[in-house]
C-alpha cells in the first residue's frame, strides 16, 4: 500500500512563501517524479511528505490516514538522501540494519533481511566495509538498501544521483527503475534533471516557484505542455521559441517548435539560417543556427546531416507539431 | 525541526557559556576602567578618590612607558618576522618528499609544547649562558669570547626565545595550508613556463596569504602579552631594556602596588589589543560565511 494525498499543503519559511498551496494525488505503486529548476520547492515538498519539515497549512494523507502531525518514522516512508547520509562510523551491514534495529526486530531476522537486500544490490562482498571505503555508486546502493529493508509504503528520493558521474548516473537510473518494477512500491523522486524525469517516471509533477505547473505522463507533458514553462523545461534540446511576425501569422503571441520537428534541407525551405555549431553524434546531428529574421534556433536531424560551421541551410517547421502560446504563456488548444 | 521548542532549548543550552563569558568580560574590565580614574595605592590607604586623568598622565609621562611600548613592538615585530619567514621556508622544505617525515614533523613541532618558563630557563642556562651555555662553548671552541647575551642584547635574546616557541606554530599552519594547494594548479603553472621562483611568487604565496594573515594575527594576540619569558630571564632589565607593556603593568601593580597606574596601563593595553583583534575578527569572520 502507498497512496499519498496532499490537500492544500503550504509551507512558509519566515517571510518566504515557499509553497503557496498544493493539491496532489499519488496512487499506490506509481513512480512519481517532482521536477523543476533549483529553488522551485520540490525538495521542500518531499521533506513535507517525509515529515522532516512541519507543514504551515493543509493536510497530508497516507493510505487514507491523516499523518500531517505524525513523526517521520511513524509515516512508514523511507528516504534516500542526496548526500546518502550514511552513518560513517557503522559498517555497511550496520547501516542497512539500523532501521530494523530501531524497530526492535530480532537479530536473526535482521541478518536475513540485510543479506537479502545486499544480494539484490550487489553489496554482499562489502557488508563489513565502512562507507568511506566505498565508491559513490556503492554508497548510493547502501542508502537504497537501508530504505528497502524497512519495506516502506513509499520510497522518497531526494536528488539521489546528482553526486555521481554521468556514466554511473545512467546505470543507477536503470537500477532504480528496475527496483521499482520488482518491488512495485510507490516511489517519489525529486530531480532537476528532466532526462531523469522523462526516463523513469510514470507521472511527472513539474514545479515552479512552489506551484504545480502540470502533472502528467512523460509523453503527455512532451506532446501537450500546458504552458510556456513546461514546454521549455521538458525536452532536450530545449524547444525553440519564436515570436513576432511568424507567431502572429499563426494567431499566437509565441510559437514553439521542438528541434526534432524542424525539417532540414540544403536546397529549399521556409527559413534560412547559418550554422554556428554543428554537433555530429552519429545517430543524431544537432545544428545550432542563426536563422535570418528569427535568431538562434536549434535543429535536430536524425542520422548524419553534413553541415558545418558557416554553411547556409534551410529549415521548415512541421506545422502539425507546432505549439502556440497566448499572451499569458498558456497553450492555445487547436 | 526549527520549532519554537528547539529554539528555546537552544537558548537554554547556550546560556551558561554566554553568561560566564559576559561576567568574565565585563566585571574585571569595568573594575580596571574604574580604578584607572582613581587614586588607589595598596601601600597608602589614605590616598583615595577621583584622580581624573592623573593615572594616564603618570603612565604617559613615565619614560619607561615609551620604552615599554617600543619593546613590545620590537618583540612582536621581531618574532613575527622570524617565524613567518622561517615558517614558510621550513614548510616548503617539509612539503618535499623526504625520508622520516613523521619524525621530522614531531621534532619541529615540539618547542610549541614547552611551557614558557621552561623555554626561557633552557635558553638562559643551557644555550645562552656565557659560562656554561652551548653558544659559549662554541665561541670558546673557535677562540672567541663568549657573549653574555642577556646583559648585552636582552631584548634580542627574548625575541629569539619567543620566536623558537612560535616557529613550530607558524610552520605547522603554513604547511597545512601548503598541502591544500591544488597539485594541478602547480602543474598548470609549470606548463605555463613558470620556474620555481615564479611559482612561489604567483601561486604559492597568494595561496598562503590567508594562512599567513591568521598566523600573524593570532601570534600578535599572544606576543603582545609575553610575560613569563621576561620574568624568568631578564626580569625586565637591565633597567627597562627588556620591559614590555605587559611587564611594566605587572611591575606597577604588584611591585609598585599602584593599582590606579597599573589600571591605566591596562586600559592602554586593551586599546592596543583591540586594534589587532579588529583585524583578526574580520579574517576569521570571513571564514564563517563560507
Amino acid at each position: 500500500m502507498g497512496s499519498i494525498t496532499l490537500n492544500k499543503v503550504s509551507k512558509v519559511f519566515g517571510e518566504a512563501n515557499v509553497i503557496p498551496s498544493i493539491d496532489l494525488e499519488i496512487n499506490n505503486g506509481e513512480f512519481v517524479v517532482f521536477v523543476g529548476p533549483s529553488g522551485c520547492g520540490k525538495s521542500t515538498l518531499l521533506r513535507l511528505i517525509a515529515g522532516l519539515e512541519d507543514v504551515s497549512g493543509g493536510q497530508i494523507m497516507i493510505d487514507g490516514k491523516d499523518v500531517t502531525q505524525a513523526a517521520p518514522a511513524a509515516r512508514g516512508l523511507a528516504m534516500v538522501f542526496q548526500s546518502y547520509a550514511l552513518y560513517p562510523h557503522m559498517s555497511v551491514r550496520k547501516n542497512i540494519a539500523f532501521p530494523l534495529k530501531m524497530a526492535k526486530m530480532d537479530q536473526s531476522a535482521i541478518d536475513k533481511k540485510v543479506e537479502a537486500a545486499a544480494k539484490v544490490l550487489n553489496l554482499t562482498d562489502y557488508l563489513e566495509r565502512k562507507p568511506s571505503q566505498l565508491s559513490g555508486g556503492q554508497r548510493q546502493r547502501v542508502a537504497i538498501g537501508r530504505a528497502i529493508v524497512r519495506e516502506p509504503s513509499a520510497f522518497l528520493f531526494d536528488e539521489p544521483l546528482s553526486n555521481l558521474d554521468a556514466a554511473l548516473r545512467g546505470t543507477m537510473r536503470l537500477e532504480i527503475s528496475d527496483l521499482h518494477n520488482q518491488l512495485k512500491t510507490t516511489m517519489i523522486y525529486v530531480t532537476h534533471d528532466q532526462v531523469e524525469a522523462m526516463t523513469m517516471a510514470d507521472k511527472i509533477v513539474v514545479l515552479n516557484r512552489g506551484n504545480i505547473e502540470q502533472v502528467g505522463s512523460p509523453l503527455d507533458l512532451y506532446k501537450n505542455p500546458r504552458n510556456l514553462f513546461v514546454a521549455g523545461f521538458i525536452g532536450s534540446p530545449h524547444m525553440n521559441f519564436v515570436d513576432g511576425a511568424y507567431a502572429q501569422s499563426k494567431n499566437a503571441k509565441m510559437a514553439g517548435i521542438r528541434p526534432e520537428h524542424l525539417g532540414l534541407s540544403k536546397d529549399s525551405g521556409l527559413w534560412t539560417g547559418t550554422v554556428k555549431v554543428a554537433e555530429h553524434l552519429g545517430a543524431d546531428t544537432f545544428l545550432h543556427l542563426d536563422v535570418d529574421g528569427i535568431g538562434p534556433v536549434t535543429a535536430r536531424a536524425g542520422g548524419e546531416f553534413g553541415a558545418h560551421h558557416g554553411d547556409r541551410v534551410y529549415l521548415t517547421p512541421d506545422e502539425s507539431k507546432l505549439h502556440r502560446f497566448d499572451d499569458k504563456g498558456l497553450t492555445i488548444r487547436a | 525541526m526549527a520549532t519554537q521548542n528547539t529554539k528555546t532549548l537552544a537558548r537554554a543550552m547556550m546560556a551558561p557559556s554566554v553568561l560566564l563569558l559576559l561576567v568574565w568580560m565585563i566585571v574585571p574590565l569595568a573594575m580596571t576602567l574604574w580604578f584607572s580614574f582613581q587614586n588607589y595605592n595598596l601601600l597608602d590607604p589614605t590616598q583615595t578618590g577621583f584622580a581624573g586623568l592623573f593615572n594616564y598622565e603618570f603612565f604617559y609621562t613615565d619614560p619607561a612607558f615609551f620604552q615599554s611600548i617600543w619593546n613590545t613592538l620590537v618583540i612582536v615585530g621581531g618574532v613575527l618576522l622570524i617565524t613567518v619567514v622561517g615558517g614558510i621556508a621550513i614548510a616548503l622544505l617539509l612539503d618535499q618528499p623526504i625520508f622520516g617525515q613523521g619524525i621530522v614533523r614531531i621534532l619541529i613541532i615540539s618547542p610549541f609544547f614547552v611551557m614558557p618558563p621552561v623555554a626561557a630557563l633552557i635558553w638562559k642556562n643551557m644555550i645562552m649562558h656565557p659560562g656554561y651555555g652551548v653558544l659559549g662553548d662554541i665561541n670558546r671552541f673557535f677562540g672567541f669570547e663568549p657573549v653574555d647575551w642577556f646583559a648585552r642584547y636582552p631584548l634580542f635574546s627574548i625575541v629569539v626565545i619567543v620566536a623558537w616557541q612560535w616557529l613550530p606554530f607558524a610552520t605547522l599552519i603554513l604547511l597545512t595550508a601548503l598541502q591544500s594547494l591544488d597539485g594541478e594548479q602547480k602543474e598548470a603553472a609549470e606548463m605555463d613556463g613558470a620556474n620555481f621562483l615564479n611559482r612561489f611568487i604567483y601561486l604559492v604565496l597568494p595561496h598562503l596569504a590567508r594562512a599567513i594573515t591568521v598566523v600573524i594575527l593570532i601570534q600578535t594576540i599572544f606576543l603582545l602579552g609575553v610575560y613569563a619569558e621576561i620574568l624568568v630571564t631578564t626580569n625586565g632589565g637591565p633597567g627597562y631594556a627588556s620591559t614590555n607593556l605587559a611587564f611594566l603593568i605587572y611591575r606597577t601593580a604588584l611591585l609598585g602596588y599602584d593599582v590606579g597606574g597599573a589600571s591605566a596601563g591596562g586600559i592602554i593595553a586593551v586599546v592596543l589589543a583591540n586594534i589587532v583583534a579588529f583585524f583578526l575578527m574580520r579574517a576569521v569572520g570571513k571564514n564563517l560565511d563560507r
Partner: protein, 274 residues
C-alpha cells in the same frame, strides 16, 4: 603526477629537513641529556654523552617536592578543561544544529573575549581573588583557566559539530530513531573524536598557561609553571637538576602534543586553516 621524484632530490631534501629539525629540537634534546648528567659533568662543557644517572631526578623530588606541583598541574589543567567542556558542549551543539541569525555574532563575541590582554585585568582579578580567598587555591586557578579557554573550547567544538551533516540526523529520524537513540547510536559516535581533540588541545594550553598560574599561586596550588619559574632565582642554578625538573615538566605534555598536532592547527586558528 606520473613523474617520479629523483632520489637525489629526495636525499638532499631529507638531509636539509633533518638538519633544521635537529637544530630546532636541540635545546630540548640537550636539556634531556643534561638531566642525565651529574652536576660536575653538566658544567664541564659541551658533551652529548651523559653518564645516565638519575640522581638529579631524585634530588628534584626529595629536595623540591616535584610531585605536588605536578599534581597541581594535572588537577588544574584537566579540571579546567572538563569544566569548560561541560559548559561548552551544549552551547556548541545548539549553535551548530539550531543556528539563528545571532549565532555568528555570539561566536565572534566569544572569540573577542579571548583578545582581552590578561595584564589589563590583572589588578581586579588579583583583588577579587584576594577578597574571596582564592589566591593560591586550586579551585581559583581551575575556574580561571576554564574561563580563559572557554571561547577556544566552544569554537573548536562548534567547528567539529558543524561538520556532522544535518542529513544524517534526518536519516536517523526517518529510520525510526528517537531522540535518545539518535544521541546514543548516531550523534555520540560522530561527536566523540571532536570532543577528544578539544580535550587534548585544551589540556595542553592549560598546562602551559604561564601568566595567571604564576601570578595567582605561591606554594600550595602552584603548578609546574610556577614551580619552574621559581628556579630562575639564584639558588636554583644547578644545571642537571634544572634540566631534570624541566624535562619532567614538559615530558607529559610533549607526548600529548605529538598526538594532537593535526587538531592543533584547526583548534588554534578557530577553523580558519584546516
Amino acid at each position: 603526477m606520473a613523474r617520479s621524484v629523483t632520489t637525489k632530490h629526495k636525499v638532499i631534501a631529507t638531509i636539509a629537513a633533518w638538519v633544521v629539525a635537529l637544530i630546532i629540537f636541540f635545546p630540548i634534546l640537550y636539556t634531556i641529556i643534561t638531566s642525565l648528567k651529574t652536576e660536575p659533568e653538566a658544567i664541564a662543557g659541551f658533551n652529548l654523552i651523559p653518564s645516565f644517572t638519575l640522581e638529579s631526578y631524585i634530588t628534584v623530588q626529595t629536595q623540591r617536592d616535584y610531585f605536588t606541583p605536578f599534581m597541581n598541574s594535572v588537577i588544574i589543567s584537566v579540571g579546567s578543561t572538563i569544566l569548560a567542556l561541560i559548559v561548552a558542549i551544549p552551547a556548541a551543539w545548539a549553535m551548530a544544529f539550531s543556528p539563528t541569525k545571532r549565532t555568528k555574532g555570539i561566536l565572534m563575541w566569544m572569540l573577542s573575549t579571548k583578545m582581552m590582554p590578561a595584564v589589563a585585568v590583572l589588578v581586579p582579578i588579583y583583588l577579587l581573588f584576594r577578597d574571596f580567598g582564592l589566591l593560591d587555591s586550586r579551585i581559583g586557578l581551575t575556574v580561571m583557566l576554564m574561563l580563559i579557554n572557554l571561547p577556544i573550547v566552544v569554537w573548536m567544538l562548534y567547528t567539529y559539530f558543524r561538520e556532522i551533516p544535518g542529513e544524517i540526523l534526518e536519516a536517523a529520524r526517518m529510520d525510526g530513531a528517537g531522540l535518545w537513540q539518535e544521541i546514543v547510536h548516531v550523534l555520540t559516535p560522530m561527536a566523540v573524536p571532536g570532543i577528544a581533540s578539544t580535550l587534548l588541545l585544551n589540556i595542553i594550553l592549560a598546562w602551559n598557561e604561564s601568566f595567571w598560574t604564576i601570578r595567582l599561586s605561591t606554594t600550595n596550588a602552584a603548578p609546574l609553571t610556577a614551580f619552574i619559574a621559581s628556579f630562575s632565582s639564584p639558588q636554583g642554578l644547578f644545571w642537571a637538576k634544572l634540566s631534570a625538573a624541566s624535562t619532567m615538566a614538559i615530558a607529559p605534555i610533549l607526548i600529548l602534543g605529538w598526538f594532537s598536532q593535526k587538531q592543533l592547527v584547526r583548534g588554534l586558528t578557530f577553523g580558519a586553516v584546516k
